[in-house]
């Protein structure tokens, strides 16, 4: 089992939910959070900083603002992890900084509390 933790733009949540349902992945958990990424919007600045220019790095360091984001968590069987990731990317990609990040974490076990089912049986997507 894999947990897909995606941090996305606030205004993309409805599109993402729709896209996931269309792909057959219906169960999810969402919550609000605040976050920051590399702390910039300028692509050239980023490039400069990556190449190690002091000037660019010092400009990146100034921002400290946290931006409102939505975090969604979905636990899926191993074989659906790649599909889920590509659905989320397709629904959220604008190509600009701030589109978000997706983390894929291993999950040891899952339990459905109502019935006590374990492992893949406890997940909605087979």
């Amino acid at each position: 089992m894999k947990e897909i933790l995606a941090i996305i733009r606030m205004n993309k949540i409805n599109q993402t939910k729709k896209a996931l349902i269309e792909a057959g992945i219906s169960s999810m958990h969402a919550r609000d959070c605040l976050g920051r990424g590399k702390g910039l919007v300028d692509v050239q600045l980023l490039k400069g900083a990556e190449q190690g220019y002091e000037e660019a790095i010092s400009q990146l360091g100034n921002t400290q603002r946290l931006i409102s984001k939505r975090m969604i968590a979905i636990v899926v069987p191993d074989n659906l992890a790649n599909k889920t990731v590509s659905v989320i990317i397709a629904a959220n990609q604008t190509g600009k900084s701030g589109d978000g990040k997706i983390f894929v974490l291993p999950i040891h076990d899952a339990v459905r509390i109502r019935t006590g089912e374990l492992g893949n049986d406890a997940l909605d997507e087979a």
Binding site: K2, A6, I7, I8, R31, D32, C33, L34, G35, R36, G37, K38, G39, L60, G61, Q64, L66, K69, M71, V85, S86, I88, I89, A90, N92, Q93, T94, G95, K96, S97, G98, D99, G100, K101, I102, F103, V104, L105, P106
Partner: protein, 117 residues
């Protein structure tokens, strides 16, 4: 890659974020949470507070940076000289893959590659 989740005092968040930023870890996600620890909350008179407000900081770092980041958070989150109850906890878990939505770049322990949908 490793995910570091730190549950810290709300008033310490600014210091920690500043520390992380200055050491080159700008990317952080912050959430409001409430919780209790093994002291079972705080008892003041007859009233027990067992849902104490805390902040959850989440960041994903390369394996090699784990100790540095944990050291930074721990140094900034402690109250007093030796720390005190309620300063929080740090959890570390493994992350298989990291995708950047805007560029579609996939990062794993093995390296970075661009993926097509």
């Amino acid at each position: 890659m490793l995910m570091i989740r730190a549950i810290v005092r709300p008033e310490k968040v600014d210091v920690i974020l500043e520390q992380l930023m200055s050491e080159g870890f700008p990317a952080v996600t912050k959430m409001n949470v409430s919780g209790r620890g093994k002291q079972r909350g705080i008892k003041i008179g007859d009233i027990t507070y067992d849902e104490l407000p805390k902040e959850l900081l989440m960041l994903v770092v390369p394996d090699a940076d784990k100790d540095l980041v944990i050291g930074l958070i721990m140094g900034a989150a402690r109250t007093g000289d030796r720390g005190s109850y309620g300063d929080g906890k740090i959890f570390v878990s493994s992350v298989d893959e990291v995708y950047t939505v805007s560029s579609g770049i996939r990062e794993t322990n093995a390296g970075t590659q661009e993926v097509s949908l």
